[in-house]
């Protein structure tokens, strides 16, 4: 049974929502979670996550060496090009230090870094069994301490008068319901699965985007709050966008649609032309720019081309490799002008300078005299079979979000005095991420601001 009223209402069912619900409940509040998905598909994009980024001053059970506050800040500053709210970002970084223990005390287990962890063993802690195992633990803990979880509840409206949030309206089993609360935590994700909204921002190109996670993150609550005067942060075209296998389904393919081959390949658009330095840096530091790069190419498609020499240098994909004995026949397999691709490969091969090829370092095997250059891991593409992997933009989550303060409180301009609306997770990630991405930051934002939002919502509700 869903109660008619509660102290703290949490909208959403991913990591941020669960951290908020647990923190609010532990602070003494009655807590209800309204999760849009059913139980089997609960957890939003958290289902597809695997790790979070955390600062630490010395080696931990699951994290090597140290990753200082300053280094984390430098990494974040670099990827965002300074488009980040510095006090909030530094708050997140400092709070990330205690997050692993906080989760561990609530049953979450981490694992040592193994083969699939992309050399992040110093900066990122990996959930044992991945994001869905994390969620299973968080839900079980939340219910054990008395949080009410309601599945299949799609929130469509928050009733806010000039001074405070009062209640939400939601759809459940085909009919409308409402629930009153003293405070609300909005943790309902971005709007990347809302095709109309994406088209407003991107135009027709959005038709060719794939959504890596849940089809339910349509930004309904975000839009509802924007319409009621909530302040926003970020640009609607900014998002976490990865180049993924173009053959992936429209929604929910998650990690297995990723292709790690870009830095060992040349990437060409449908006209057979290269458009960016594939070997600029290690893949974990570059994968999140390639979604945008492909989004700007004709028809939002590109192809990574490799030869047999490097075929085993990256993790396999679930989709079959497209291969052929010659560059021309490979081009015809992927519907590309064969002479254009052959010309690109020939001029690339001619530009490659011999060096000591080493995938574990920035090996300076590079090209000279072509534009764009390839700065590392450049080898001539000359050993058949030649292989191609088609790439499309895979959107993880959008950055346009609710502006919050250091208590995770949503601001409603200067005219309002609404003090009981809080936000956590992807719906407010734009405060930290104006653009770009550091692997694992989304889950750190969810965990840190989830806790802060839950604690402050409970304080607001119980005062």
């Amino acid at each position: 049974m869903i109660p008619a009223a509660t102290d703290v209402l949490v909208i959403g069912g991913g990591n941020a929502a669960l951290c908020a619900a647990i923190a609010a409940r532990e602070a003494g509040a009655e807590v209800v979670i309204l999760e849009h998905a059913d139980r089997a598909m609960r957890g939003g994009n958290t289902r597809h996550t695997r790790n979070l980024r955390a600062m630490h001053d010395g080696p931990l059970h699951t994290l090597a060496d140290a990753y200082t506050e300053d280094e984390f800040w430098q990494d974040l500053h670099r990827v965002t090009g300074g488009q980040t709210d510095e006090p909030l970002a530094k708050l997140m970084i400092r709070e990330s230090a205690g997050l692993l223990d906080w989760l561990h005390e609530r049953g979450v287990r981490f694992q040592p870094a193994l083969s699939g962890t992309l050399s992040l063993e110093r900066t990122n802690a990996f959930f044992l069994g991945g994001g869905k195992t994390l969620l299973n633990t968080q839900y079980r803990h939340a219910e054990a301490i008395g949080v009410t979880v309601s599945y299949g509840c799609e929130v469509i409206d928050l009733a806010i008068d000039r001074s405070a949030f009062r209640e939400v309206t939601f759809m459940h089993a085909g009919s409308k319901h409402s629930i009153r609360a003293q405070a609300v935590v909005v943790a309902s994700g971005g709007f990347q699965a809302n095709e109309e909204w994406m088209k407003e921002a991107w135009g027709a190109a959005a038709d060719n985007f794939l959504i890596r996670g849940t089809p339910l993150n349509r930004g309904i609550v975000l839009r509802n709050l924007m319409d009621q005067g909530a302040d926003t942060v970020g640009n609607p075209t900014q998002c976490h966008a990865v180049a993924i296998d173009a053959r992936a389904p429209k929604y929910d393919a998650g990690i297995v649609s990723r292709l790690d081959c870009v830095c060992f390949s040349i990437v060409v658009n449908r006209h057979g032309q290269r458009f960016y330095d594939e070997g600029e840096d290690f893949w974990p530091k570059r994968y999140a720019i390639w979604g945008r790069l492909v989004a700007k190419q004709p028809d939002q498609i590109a192809y990574a081309i490799i030869d047999a020499k490097v075929a085993d240098n990256f993790m396999p994909s679930i989709f079959p490799t497209i291969s052929a004995g010659s560059i021309e026949s490979l081009a015809s397999e992927i519907d590309m002008p064969g002479d254009a691709l052959a010309a690109t490969v020939t001029s690339f091969n001619a530009a490659v300078k011999q060096g000591h090829y080493d995938t574990t370092t920035l090996d300076a095997c590079k090209t000279e005299g072509i534009e764009p250059p390839k700065s590392n891991w450049a080898l001539p593409i000359d050993t058949p079979p030649f292989c191609a992997y088609p790439l499309r933009p895979g959107i993880t989550f959008t950055y346009l979000g609710l502006k919050v303060d250091d208590q995770a409180r949503v601001s409603f301009g200067n005219s309002h005095s609404v003090e009981n609306v809080f936000a956590a997770g992807e719906v407010m990630a734009g405060n930290i991420l104006g653009k770009g991405y550091c692997a694992g930051t989304g889950m750190t934002i969810g965990g840190v601001f989830g806790r802060i939002a839950g604690e402050n919502a409970a304080r607001e509700a119980l005062c």
């Binding site: 597809h48 083969s115 699939g116 069994g129 991945g130 869905k132 297995v256």
Partner: protein, 367 residues
């Protein structure tokens, strides 16, 4: 020549491992995923190896973002359980007996019923009614009911054949899955594999917190029950070995006193074989059906029931061996024991051998 169904099972497993290998979120859970990451393509023998390395803890199902109702409909424990059961059939010796794995629950049950009936009928036919229902005590008391030579001949023949069939099946499996590298498993690999097997490490997962339940908890109950079962079996086996030494070397005939080594070992083992299989049956009945190959539960239930009944009748025989009920109890106990050993190479028992072989390959690749 492969049958269609076998091909389908390997195709299902290939699809599952292809998805898993691109994901690898489960690599911290157990050996199966760690072994998987060493491969990019999977031969049928690799899949048989991975299937037998899986201990069916189901943590990877409950933690899988691609499990149903996701469109990918990925169910690794179930896919591997089906392939695993099929591998018992394919590596069995002699080949024509492999069909016994097809409806194994029924087969083992029939073996139990027939053995029981056979022993009882023979005893009633050939033994004086008065002998059967009188009280016998002192050395050689059992052999007054069933002659020692007959007992030893039947047991010896059955046991020898079963061990032979098990060894040949196990060897076939090992030859199929043995690491391609030329070096055989070294001392370190054997030591590791024995430790994994003795501690039932992967019933606890790599993390040691146990198997996953339907409500996504982790619990070591299955591991504990399996420990009672496995060590119960070994203790009973040790008891039989000691008793044989006493009989043939020292010349002391059963029944042995309660505080003698064979009876102490047998009693401890018997208790283990009551607690363990009963616990495993209870857990299995309450287990999550979604990640299980429920159609083949018959094999597991029959094997566990068979172990439990061997032990139960043995314990009853021990309790009432000085009464007039001993004759019947002995016949019933020997009936269940006969059935157990007759069915041994064509029962769930083989999982111990195949899992150990898989662990040995895993340990070899790891060292």
């Amino acid at each position: 020549m492969h049958g269609t169904s076998e091909q389908v099972l390997h195709e299902d497993a290939t699809r599952a491992m292809t998805i898993c290998n691109a994901c690898r979120y489960c690599e911290g859970l157990c050996a199966t995923f760690q072994a998987m990451t060493l491969k990019r393509t999977f031969a049928e023998t690799d899949l048989d190896y991975l299937a037998n390395l899986c201990h069916n803890c189901t943590a990877c199902y409950h933690g899988c973002q691609y499990a149903p109702p996701h469109d990918f409909n990925l169910n690794v424990p179930k896919t591997l359980a089906t392939l695993r059961a099929d591998s018992y059939r394919r590596y069995a010796w002699p080949g024509f007996m492999a069909r016994l794995f097809e409806r194994n629950g029924l087969v083992v049950s029939i073996a139990m019923a027939l053995s029981l009936a056979l022993v009882l009928v023979l005893v009633f036919l050939f033994q004086d009614r008065a002998v059967l229902i009188s009280r016998h005590v002192g050395p050689g008391a059992f052999y007054a009911v069933i002659g020692h030579n007959l007992m030893a001949a039947v047991a010896g023949a059955t046991f020898s054949f079963s061990v032979l069939a098990l060894l040949i099946g196990g060897r076939r499996f090992w030859r199929a899955i043995a690491p391609a590298a030329s070096k055989p498993p070294g001392v370190g690999a054997w030591a590791k594999a024995l430790r994994y097997a003795a501690t039932l490490k992967y019933l606890g997962g790599e993390h040691g917190e146990g198997c996953s339940t339907a409500d996504e908890r982790w619990t070591n109950m299955r591991r504990y029950c399996h420990q009672f079962t496995m060590w119960g079996f070994f203790l009973c086996f040790a008891s039989t070995c000691v008793a044989s030494v006493w009989h043939y070397v020292i010349g002391v005939e059963a029944p042995y006193p309660f505080l003698s080594l064979p009876v102490l070992l047998g009693t401890a083992g018997g208790v283990g074989l009551l607690i363990g299989p009963a616990g495993l049956l209870w857990l299995k009945a309450r287990s999550d059906a979604r990640p299980a190959d429920v159609d083949r539960y018959g094999m597991d239930y029959a094997f566990l029931a068979s172990l439990f009944l061997v032990s139960l009748t043995g314990m009853l025989l021990l309790a009432f061996r000085e009464t007039a009920a001993m004759g019947i109890l002995l016949a019933v106990h020997l009936g269940f024991v006969l059935a157990f050993f007759l069915a041994l190479p064509y029962s769930k028992f083989v999982h111990g051998i195949y899992r150990f072989a898989a662990l040995l390959r895993f340990a070899t690749e790891r060292t």
